[in-house]
């Protein structure tokens, strides 16, 4: 049988055959997913935990990194991959802290993809990085659809954006492993942002992700964030060791 073309005719019998419908059932993101798997293999072999930060433009991704990288650096060797449409500005802010950083400028593309990340990986020494933060392009839509090979997704929602964003951007929020409510110091000025309402909208997406409210400016909630990152790193190291053990016996 000709399995490829679905014409139902045995192979090798030439017959007038004008059109054919070929069944494929292929994921359109397959190419990206294959590359993401390749990236994940790099991360596994170097023992690097990779956290992908996503949010709308200006929700405070870089500010959160700036406020906590130095503290994290005391226990873990950190590095940052910065994704932006244009400019090196975010990379410069991280570099000012003496943290290794690579800037990816995507030009007209509104999200990072596995290929862009892969290219950047080969310009850093992963073996010397315990935790790699990827700051995705500020955008609540596309970045959610492109697997980069990261282990966990962190979505930031600043209080000035409104507490209904999880309901309006379900594709982004439903798969978040952590929701960070940022710019908590501005909460009194905004007035109508309710953390419990943001949480309800998130739970409606069948998400059980933890929520951490913080302010990179005032420092409120940063300890909880740091504890979460430490815990993920500890967990990934245990998982990694187990995977090595299992691989050794199997």
């Amino acid at each position: 049988m000709c399995v490829d073309c679905g014409c139902g005719k045995p192979p090798g019998i030439p017959e007038p055959h004008e059109t054919a419908t070929i069944s494929l059932f292929q994921n359109l993101h397959q190419q990206n997913q294959d590359l993401a798997a390749h990236n994940r293999e790099h991360f596994r072999s170097s023992g690097t935990l990779v956290l992908n930060l996503m949010s709308s433009p200006g929700a405070g991704k870089t500010a959160l990194l700036e406020a906590t990288l130095r503290t994290l650096q005391k226990n873990h060797r950190c590095a940052v991959l910065e994704g932006d449409l244009e400019t090196e500005l975010d990379a410069q802010r991280i570099r000012a802290l003496d943290i290794p950083v690579v800037q990816i400028t995507t030009g007209s593309t509104c999200h990072l993809d596995a290929q862009l990340v892969h290219k950047a990986l080969h310009s850093m020494n992963l073996a010397e990085i315990d935790i790699l933060f990827i700051e995705n392009v500020g955008n609540l839509v596309c970045p959610a659809s492109f697997d980069l090979g990261q282990h966990l997704d962190i979505v930031l929602l600043s209080v000035t954006e409104g507490d209904d964003k999880p309901a309006k951007y379900p594709v982004m929020f439903r798969t978040a492993d952590l929701l960070v409510i940022s710019k908590l110091d501005l909460l009194p000025y905004v007035g109508d942002f309710r953390i419990d309402r943001a949480e309800n909208f998130l739970r409606d997406l069948a998400s059980s992700a933890p929520i951490i409210s913080l302010s990179a400016r005032s420092g409120l909630g940063l300890d909880e964030w740091l504890a979460w990152v430490h815990a993920q790193k500890a967990k990934s190291s245990v998982d990694g060791a187990m995977a090595v053990e299992n691989g050794g016996t199997g």
Binding site: A20, I22, Q26, L28, T109, C142, A206
Partner: protein, 123 residues
């Protein structure tokens, strides 16, 4: 919007199949798109001719099927339909559900015009 870059991978996959079958034209593509795929079907339809211009797929018709969102409820063991912003169980109200369908972005089939009868290659 990344519909144009998505169209490029759609085109890439399509032309690969077409080449394997030595097709002279691609006449139609059938896709399944879920409301949680992050893709706007209308934008995809608009972007495809731009991506496909000058290729044998340039006049292909895009047939898009929108799939439904369906969740499986772990609390009451049922499957039911849901909406993008509320993925909880319609029967018991529990939000410990799993997405069964609704996020697909799938090239289901392509329709080709073949050159010669003998052009069909079966491995």
């Amino acid at each position: 919007m990344h519909e144009l870059s998505l169209c490029r991978s759609l085109l890439h996959q399509t032309l690969e199949v077409a080449a394997r079958h030595r097709a002279v034209a691609v006449t139609a593509l059938r896709l399944q798109i879920g409301p949680l795929s992050g893709v706007e079907p209308e934008l995809l339809k608009t972007a495809f001719p731009l991506a496909a211009a000058g290729t044998i797929a340039e006049s292909a018709v895009l047939n898009l099927t929108a799939t439904c969102i369906e969740v499986y409820c772990k609390s009451c063991n049922t499957r039911c339909q849901a909406t993008p912003s509320r993925l909880c169980c319609a029967t018991c109200g529990s939000c410990s559900t799993q997405l069964v369908s609704g996020d697909e972005l799938m090239l289901e089939s392509v329709e080709l015009t073949l050159d010669q009868p003998s052009a069909i290659q079966c491995p």
